[in-house]
Amino acid sequence: MVMEVEKISGLKFHKKQDVAIVGAGMTTFKRRLNETGRELSYLAVKQALEEAGITIDNVEMVVMGSAPDTFDGFHMKGEYLLDGAGGSDRPYMRVFVGGGTGVFAPIAGYWHVASGLADICLVVCEEKMSSTHPHPQSAFKYIWDPILDRPLKPNLIWIFALEMRRYMHVHNIKHEDIALVSVKNKANALDHPCAQVAERITVEDVLNSEPMALPVRRLDVSPPSDGAAALIMVAPHIARQLTDNPVWVTGVGWALDTTWWTNRDLYFPRYVAEAAKMAYRQAHITDPRKEIDVAEPYDPFDYKELHHMEGLGLAKKGEAPILTREGVTQRDGDLPTCPSGGLLGVGNPISAAMGVKACELYWQLAYRAGKRQVAKEVTTGVCQAWGDLMQVGTVMVMSNKR
């Protein structure tokens, strides 16, 4: 499909319109990749354009999602990446909500098209964590409050450990049940071509792995990665020209909780619940547990998948570990969760996790997930990301029926 229009007069400024996803792409996720950030963005965009059947000239606007500049080693890293991400000579904007960017960038892409300002919007997420030395963890030193927290020399894992302990305490959950998530996701990832840490492990492996900040152990955590992912979001009349099976974005929501995370009871992510409420309302979903067929909640740690399932209303508070134990969240279960292998299995390049969240959900609903395709028939799915100091929830609901 070729649209020969000068880019500015190509912007039509319609009225409000629905939004469909017609293509996605991602690079491999590995601890260190040789390609630069721009090259990674390019590879992901190329794949997405191929699947959608359009060229970069058709793209009207570009949204970049990329997490802390400190990882790649640039100030204003959005500007640096724009050439590789197709942003040259286009309206280009970078959004950033910490770890929630993986699902927030598509939400930003959604309003570029839904507002009528663009008909075709490209969403790109890129991350190069390996640039930071001695270890990407070091860059997380700077997320803390400089006066109240940093002098105590905190490590990022601390917040998760504190939250995990609280979650386990309030609902009386054993580490064995939480470890099941890590086992499931790492096994699921064996079917993902881009996976970094896919392997078959057991609950004992998790419980015996190196302690990092108890109760968190090494196999409870997703690794730092380099990678990029891309999505193409279009207006309905364009989707009709490109494909018979677009996947529609039916609901979006996002919420940010207070900076004072020590003043909150961490056992329940109310920011995810608020974001989900907003997205479900838009998507006309009243009973998520019944109406959602497949879910990709954010799983940087195994307990986080459970925590977020409860926040998304897919399980009652304290019930998520039971669903996991009963096999409900397996690929052949009633509520397949993280069929891609998630961050625990494929890798965690912060914002580029869009590849295993939003892109995966799209592929599942378009029946293109190959060996990872879930067993049941799917119509509606939800993907979610989390970020900051236990603050951000970003949720997107998709459906293959309009």
């Binding site: 204003m76 990446l81 724009l82 280009y92 839904a114 030193k141 997320i143 940010l256």
Partner: protein
């Protein structure tokens, strides 16, 4: 249609030793909400903040935003760009039906940054540019200035006149810390820190915060009798490298074209009543005036000398004093410009009030070493 129903600001000062960035944000936000007559905890659907991590000194600045805006457990996001990009984001959110009332915020706490030159340098390409020589990165602007001066046959006086106009304009702006009654001779005598760029042609850093409340047209009409309409928004990125960019503010030209098209403006030089453009380096004002199609390619310097862009001229540019008078507000630069445009259109600009203005343009650049920028057109 989207309207501005409330504005608030804090500053602008050369330094703010008594208040943290949270406190200046709170101050500006409270003023904006009072102006709009809303309660952020109940009425606002979306909050957009514009910040770059390294300007703040945190790895994820988004974390430190919600409390002071009243956004706790509400939809809040960060756009890593100038205020006008945030304005465009809020505009799109309202038009998509995601929000009826949206808040945009940007601030600068430049006085907290001890090594500003190194922060700018950190944005430069590490392989090709960053460690070439030891010079302060402002030399990049000087390179562009020299090329632009040669291409447009500008003299040093042409550029110096921008400084004279803006700093004198700033004397009537109570919130501008760098106003001065300087003359052309003062500017010409100022040392050439980056030949041909002189010290007085570089806008010094300043602190401040601007908050806007936007609303969809139905809600705007309920909230206020004097909405200022956001007629058009545009934003554009040319490219990243200094080696491939146009050096003629093509980003501003295309962003303006997009905004004008949305606003239905076909002849900007006639239909725009006044403008606030980015002049963080004095020559940039001439470049941006041309890019915004407010004057022809070889006319801006001549018109400037004739007083066409003066406070009492035919098309006042930077009547607030511009960045040379108000200071370099980092990502809040677009906010200061939009603020001035809105105050002028409402008739609240005090001693600097222009008469009979209906359409104003605010434009900003994303500063060194980028070639991106945004434009917003406001009207009554």
């Amino acid at each position: 249609m989207v309207a501005v129903v409330g504005v608030g600001y804090s500053g602008f000062n050369s330094t703010t030793p008594d208040l943290s960035w949270k406190e200046i944000m709170y101050e500006a936000a409270v003023r904006a909400y009072t102006d709009a007559g809303i309660n952020p905890r109940r009425d606002v659907d979306s909050f957009v903040t514009c910040a770059e991590d390294l300007y703040e000194g945190f790895a994820i600045f988004d974390e430190f935003v919600p409390d002071q805006l009243g956004a706790v457990v509400k939809p809040t996001c960060t756009v890593c760009a100038d205020f006008l990009y945030g304005l465009a984001t809020a505009y799109m959110q309202i038009r998509s039906g995601l929000a009826d009332i949206a808040v945009v915020e940007a601030h600068s706490k430049a006085s907290d940054i001890q090594t500003f030159g190194n922060v700018v340098k950190f944005a430069m390409d590490p392989i090709w540019l960053r460690n070439v020589g030891n010079a302060h990165p402002y030399y990049l602007a000087a390179l562009e200035m020299f090329q632009y001066m040669v291409e447009r046959c500008l003299s040093e006086e042409d550029v110096a006149r921008v400084v004279v106009k803006n700093k004198n304009n700033a004397l009537l702006n109570e919130s501008a810390p760098y106003g001065a009654n300087i003359t052309l001779e003062d500017v010409m005598a100022s040392p050439k820190l980056f030949d041909p760029m002189k010290k007085l042609e570089i806008a010094p850093l300043a602190d401040g915060c601007v908050v806007f409340v936007l609303a969809s047209d139905k809600v705007a009409r309920e909230l206020t009798d004097t909405p200022v309409w956001v007629k058009g928004v545009g934003w554009w990125s040319e490219t990243y490298g200094y080696d491939t960019a146009s050096f003629s503010a093509m980003y501003a030209y295309k962003a303006a074209k997009m905004a004008y098209r949305m606003a239905g403006i076909t002849n900007p030089a006639k239909e725009v009543d006044f403008a606030e453009v980015d002049d963080r380096f004095a020559f940039k004002e001439l470049q941006h005036i041309e890019a915004l199609q407010l004057a022809g390619k070889f006319d801006s310097a001549r018109l400037l000398a004739e007083g066409y862009f003066d406070r009492d001229g035919a098309l006042p540019v930077n009547v607030s004093g511009g960045n040379l008078g108000v200071g370099n507000l980092l990502e809040c630069t677009g906010g200061q410009k939009a603020l001035e445009v809105v105050l002028q259109l409402r008739g609240e600009a005090g001693r600097r009030q222009l008469s009979d203005v209906e359409t104003g343009v605010a434009q900003s650049w994303r500063y060194l070493p980028t070639h991106s920028g945004a434009v917003a057109v406001f009207g009554l």
